[in-house]
């Protein structure tokens, strides 16, 4: 690799960080300096205070945390049971059932917003966090991933530890669980369309929906405050990524390949 190519690689990396760097600049400086890059510009936290008070950020954050935790816990239980059934049991209709499960990889719940909204209103779950999470709890991807993992664990181990039921399988599949958890948390932290459709109050809206209302051009909030709000919304996930980069990339890759 010659020096020109190295420079190009670095330049592209800088370009890729630019939107975030620029938002960070705007968020930590008074609005007058938002478009005026001055090394001597005074630093301030006022934009964060404003964003915090303009929109009910703590409530949105709480909603997102509840949503993500609820979805992941339900997914871990449901997908373990189903993945275990597919990997270790022989029952009539298993192949057809598995094909039907895989169908969800293609038809994601967000494509079916119209019908799922009707279902939620019949169930009385419109504008509830449970309503946001429910369509995602039985995850085809999770079932598939755990089935593959359980299948690679030799049956001899199972015979030896039969008394313990399936609890012994879970620790052996820990890397898979970790990868799946990262992808699931990232997905639901960032998910927007379905939460937007099914919620209509502050008490249920997750961060993304709150951020969309707050950041929409017609809201009239200035750029520095929007930057501060956006950074607050992405900070937890972004920090987690910076700390566990390798794990994130590997998990996302596993999720992509399926």
């Amino acid at each position: 690799m010659n020096i020109l190519e190295k420079a190009a690689a670095w330049l592209l990396a800088l370009l890729w960080l630019l939107p975030l760097l620029y938002a960070t600049w705007a968020a930590f400086h008074p609005p007058a300096y938002a478009t005026h890059l001055d090394a001597l510009a005074p630093l301030t936290l006022a934009n964060f205070e404003k964003a915090w008070s303009y929109a009910p950020f703590p409530r949105h954050l709480l909603n997102t945390v509840i949503l993500v935790t609820m979805v992941l816990s339900a997914q871990l239980v449901l997908c373990t049971l189903a993945g275990f059934a597919f990997a270790r049991f022989e029952f009539a209709g298993r192949e057809i059932a598995f094909a039907l499960v895989l169908l969800q990889l293609m038809i994601m719940p967000e494509v079916l917003i119209v019908e799922n909204y009707l279902s939620m209103s019949r169930l009385g779950l419109v504008d509830s966090i449970l309503g946001i999470g429910l369509p995602y709890m039985a995850s085809a991807f999770g079932i598939f991933l755990l089935r593959q993992t359980f299948k690679t664990i030799p049956r001899e181990l199972e015979e030896a530890a039969r008394v313990e039921g399936c609890s012994w399988l879970v620790p052996l599949a820990r890397p898979t669980y970790l990868a799946y958890a990262l992808v699931s948390v990232s997905y639901h932290w960032n998910n927007f369309l379905w939460p937007l459709v099914v919620t209509n109050s502050v008490n249920t809206r997750p961060l993304t929906v709150g951020l969309a209302i707050f950041g929409a051009p017609e809201s009239g909030v200035d750029w520095s405050v929007i930057s501060a709000g956006t950074l607050m919304a992405v900070a937890p996930l972004l920090l987690a990524f910076l700390l566990f980069q390798r794990q994130f990339m590997q998990s996302f890759m596993q999720a992509g390949i399926k």
Binding site: W16, L81, I143, F192, W223, M249
Partner: protein
Amino acid sequence: MTTKTWSVPYGWLLLAPAAILLVGFTHYPAAATLVHSLFSTGTAVRPSRFVGLANYAALADDPVFWQVLGNNFWFALGTIPTSIALALLMAIWVNGRLPARALVRMSYFTPTVLPMIAVANLWLYFYTPQIGLLDKLTALFGAGSHNWLGDPHTVMGCLIAMTLWKEAGFFMIFYLAALQSLPPELEEAARVEGASRWYFFRRVTFPLLMPTTLFVLVNATINSFKLVDHLFILTKGGPDNASNLLLYYIYQVAFSFFDTSYASTLTVVLLLLLGAFAILQFQLIEKRVHYR
């Protein structure tokens, strides 16, 4: 073994909770979409009734539908080949002997972990007339202010640029994994033979990466139909539907115009498209197995 006879109810018992939810929120709504597309939207005075293929006839006559489908096509064409090329370039760079390699790799991948809504917020400012970064850049070359997102000719380009930024780093990791699995002897042999780097890439690396390219291609295509969050912030499908995409149009028809039957009809089209891509994907995966 005695477990065999017990297996049938046990298997289904373990499967039951997931199965109920999957049927309830995937299979049932997919079937209901198809059924509802054959009925008219009910109102207070006129209840819903069977109309056969009338909604599909309306669809064929709806210029917005065709425009939206065309937009989806241009959006896909604008994002896919470029993001594949960028992803491949990034992967090659990050796989090479590059100082501060981990930092560069992190920069490329970072947009992947951001929500599309936040990305749109960040980019909206670039495109704002007069004060936005893009206008400031063009002003350096003496160009006047331009309403990038308000002009039907430039709005799609703006969305494509942003999507490239968001997606290239994600596709990079697949190429990176593929590159790292290539045997190093190949490159040594090429060096001994005196092949140029470009020749080696064109004749050896790129063909060997073909399965990855096909895989990324299908995923990028599916994404181009699923990804609409940014429209809520940047354009709302405008100006005059110039940036509207199919899933966003479905949302508008269902939740702004309250025409659920027509929204169902549009959803059937989207499901058919996604189904076609999925079949393509399964065939690709089968091909990959044959390679091994």
